[in-house]
Point group: C2
Chain length 282, copies 2
């Protein structure tokens, strides 16, 4: 990022979880005081530690006014959004005026919706930036991330999972899958990664899925051609906890195309649980 | 089926659920008294109403001996098998002698495993037949199956689901998906259809998935190039119950490539719940 853009005022549209705050702190450490936009029903109230405004997701007019008032031109989308029902958006006049197509965006997957919403802000002259542009240190590197490396069997499972997610790309579904001994165990869609892993844990505990010992790999990768500024796959210490409960061997992340929240805690959790975490080249 | 094959003695290797019994009764109605092979831990004890033998899945020697003794040359695989751990198979000498590659079959998906097991029986001179060859009346027809037809929106959802399942085919994963308003909500893998639908119901009840009213379609289709004699997708009245709990609009089945158990009860349940059930052409 150039010196010039590093000093531009920045807003972060905050999804759920602690990730928006981590990005905000990284931006602050880099000398930019971010302005946080809290989404009612999604964002952590802790965002109030920073300059902020709260809005419903459809109050685009309100959000734009707040950014304009502060001469903010850069906007990042960070963290998971609970996909709203159209009626819960509280669409304001500012949104309606700018995005008569908003309702149409709801027909389809999450990526389509996010790209559409980002487009609305871009048409207003805002620059949409990715979390990884603000804090590139959050990106998964290539190779082992924790202390352990993947076995060759686990690497083969990771390749199956990566190929599966690539094949699913056109359908704008999930960004995660679990593969064990070459067999696809679980595929993520609307439930999200943690719920998918809880399902694997339950299938194993109930013996409906019979696998011995630590087996299987969680694979996380973005959709092919996905706009990486929006909704990049992300993992954190909780993901490791869920992978441990599912008795997996480890986690494989698309290097440079997945984000790691709280990397230190994630590595500690993975090392303690005996799980590998690796970044694989595309 | 020719007159000649219709009178040949027949064995049914029984997976779980009531489907093997339904096929057995259909065979009996057609004049063939089937011999049922109960799989310990999978089959319904009610199979004992027919001539039968119980065996562990790996006791292929025992199964072959029982069939040979009765001069049975046709074998059908019917119903869902709980995929066993290799060690639970109780592999006998007859299996080991014939299938030194058995362990290898466990690396991969269900279809690969079933095709491998069927191959073992075929090498012994048995003819593996599909449930639909014994009872073609169980196949999903094209068009409305219950009283309701699918809306054009639901038809579009069904097309998305069918394309998704086709794209997933090379990965030998699940045979089902849920699509709502063009968005992929759930993809089936090891958990099976009922658990996938229970997940959709739970996501909706907890508001993590926000959809209004009856929305979404369960799509069931076999993998492309799948051997339809083995593990054809199947639905029954319980599927309708699960789809109703998930507040779906209906169920779309690959016509001629999916089986319907207890069709009368299924239609009654669907009509009462206001769900459509349709067969779509490939």
């Amino acid at each position: 990022m150039s010196e010039r853009s590093a000093s531009r005022p920045l807003a972060i549209l905050c999804g759920g979880g602690g990730f928006p705050l981590e990005v905000a702190r990284a931006a602050q450490a880099g000398g930019r005081t971010p302005f946080l936009v809290g989404v009612v029903g999604s964002s952590d109230p802790a965002i109030e530690a920073f300059p902020h405004v709260w809005a419903h997701m459809g109050q685009i007019g309100k959000i734009l006014a707040a950014l304009k008032e502060r001469a903010i031109a850069d906007l990042a989308f960070v963290g998971a959004m609970t996909r709203p029902e159209l009626a819960d958006l509280r669409i304001d006049w500012g949104a309606l005026k700018r995005a008569p197509e908003l309702a149409q965006l709801f027909r389809g997957g999450d990526n389509r919706l996010l790209v559409g919403v980002a487009g609305i802000f871009e048409r207003e002259g805002l620059r949409v930036v990715g979390a990884h542009e603000i804090a590139p240190q959050l990106l998964a590197p290539t190779g082992p991330i924790g202390a352990r490396a993947a076995s060759s069997g686990a690497e083969a499972d990771a390749r199956v999972g990566a190929a599966l997610l690539a094949a699913l790309s056109p359908f704008d579904a999930g960004q995660g899958a679990v593969v064990a001994n070459g067999r696809v165990i679980a595929i993520e869609a609307a439930e999200g990664t943690d719920a998918m892993l809880a399902r694997v844990a339950e299938l194993r505990a109930s013996q409906r899925l019979r696998l011995r010992g630590p087996t299987g790999v969680l694979v996380k990768a973005p959709k092919r051609d996905q706009d990486l500024r929006l909704d990049m796959p992300a993992v954190g210490p909780k993901t490791i906890e869920a992978a441990r409960s599912a008795q997996l061997q480890g986690v494989a992340l698309a290097a440079g195309r997945a984000l790691i929240a709280d990397r230190q805690a994630l590595c500690r959790a993975a090392d303690e649980a005996g799980l590998f975490v690796v970044g694989f080249a595309p």
